[in-house]
Symmetry: C2
Subunit: 136 residues, 2 copies
DNA sequence: CTTGACCTTACCACTATGGGAAGGTTCAAA
DNA sequence: TTTGAACCTTCCCATAGTGGTAAGGTCAAG
């Protein structure tokens, strides 16, 4: 059994976040010592590691909740896991698209801005324009 | 002079957000009618439009605050504007990079997951792994 | 016994946005 | 004139994820 700071180090999460995940019901409340200190079993350490991995792939807490359920269900169909992952991939795609649009527009503006001592600036001008930005 | 809902429609922002921008000091407090209703001048409408454009390019409130200052400074150097924009471009790049990493890892997992009725699932397996995720 | 390093809970902050409640205003129609 | 719809106001709450801090308890070493 490990205390929370050890569990944090071990899993790559912060103590803060581990408590938070418990608060929001992502993980079961940890066992406590008589003094009220949280204690983590190896199984829970695994779970925390799982969470960190999933977070690093950008899964939301809600999605991780589902993933954990699937993980702990020996009769799961990998189809369900895959679908969850694919849904997240779509979200990542949308975010990429949004970023790309911004990038393209901003790069265009930057390229057309002299960037010298003069106050004339396409960036300011186009942002001031009442026209559209290219977003739908 | 327009009321807030008209200013919202005109600028593409929501009334909610216009009030919020006033709260956080992004825009000057609007004039008020005797009854306390906010009133927006054409100049303020321009400013609101500017804010919407900048937001659509992903600039943060803090960055827009700087942009507005530059916009309202007739002795600005376009260099400053360009630098601000370039800094934001870098941020966009970093976000893109992060997304791409996630995407690549997740795509790999998804490709290797059968997605059938069997419980065997690489996604679950790799997330459960105590090893690294590829992030530094 | 004291000190330092931990632990606990309970707040507040951030970014940007939305929702809603409770109450006031304006204007037009009945 | 009254009433009702459609506004407006402020204030609080929620989202998602993370960090910080403060006030207090615990534990082990010196």
């Amino acid at each position: 059994m490990m205390r929370i700071s050890e569990a944090a180090q071990h899993s790559g999460l912060s103590s803060k976040m581990i408590r938070h995940y418990e608060d929001v019901g992502l993980i079961q409340p940890a066992a406590r010592t008589e003094a009220g200190y949280r204690q983590y079993s190896p199984a829970q350490l695994d779970q925390l590691g799982f969470i960190r991995h999933a977070r690093s792939l950008g899964f939301s807490i809600a999605q991780i909740r589902d993933l954990l359920q699937l993980r702990d269900n020996p009769r799961r169909a990998s189809r369900e896991v895959k679908q969850l992952a694919q849904k997240h991939l779509q979200e990542l795609d949308q975010q990429m698209l949004a970023l790309k649009k911004m990038q393209a527009m901003l790069e265009d503006l930057v390229a057309r801005c002299a960037g010298d001592d003069s106050p004339d600036c396409v960036i300011i001008d186009e942002l001031s324009d009442s026209g559209e930005t290219g977003n739908e």
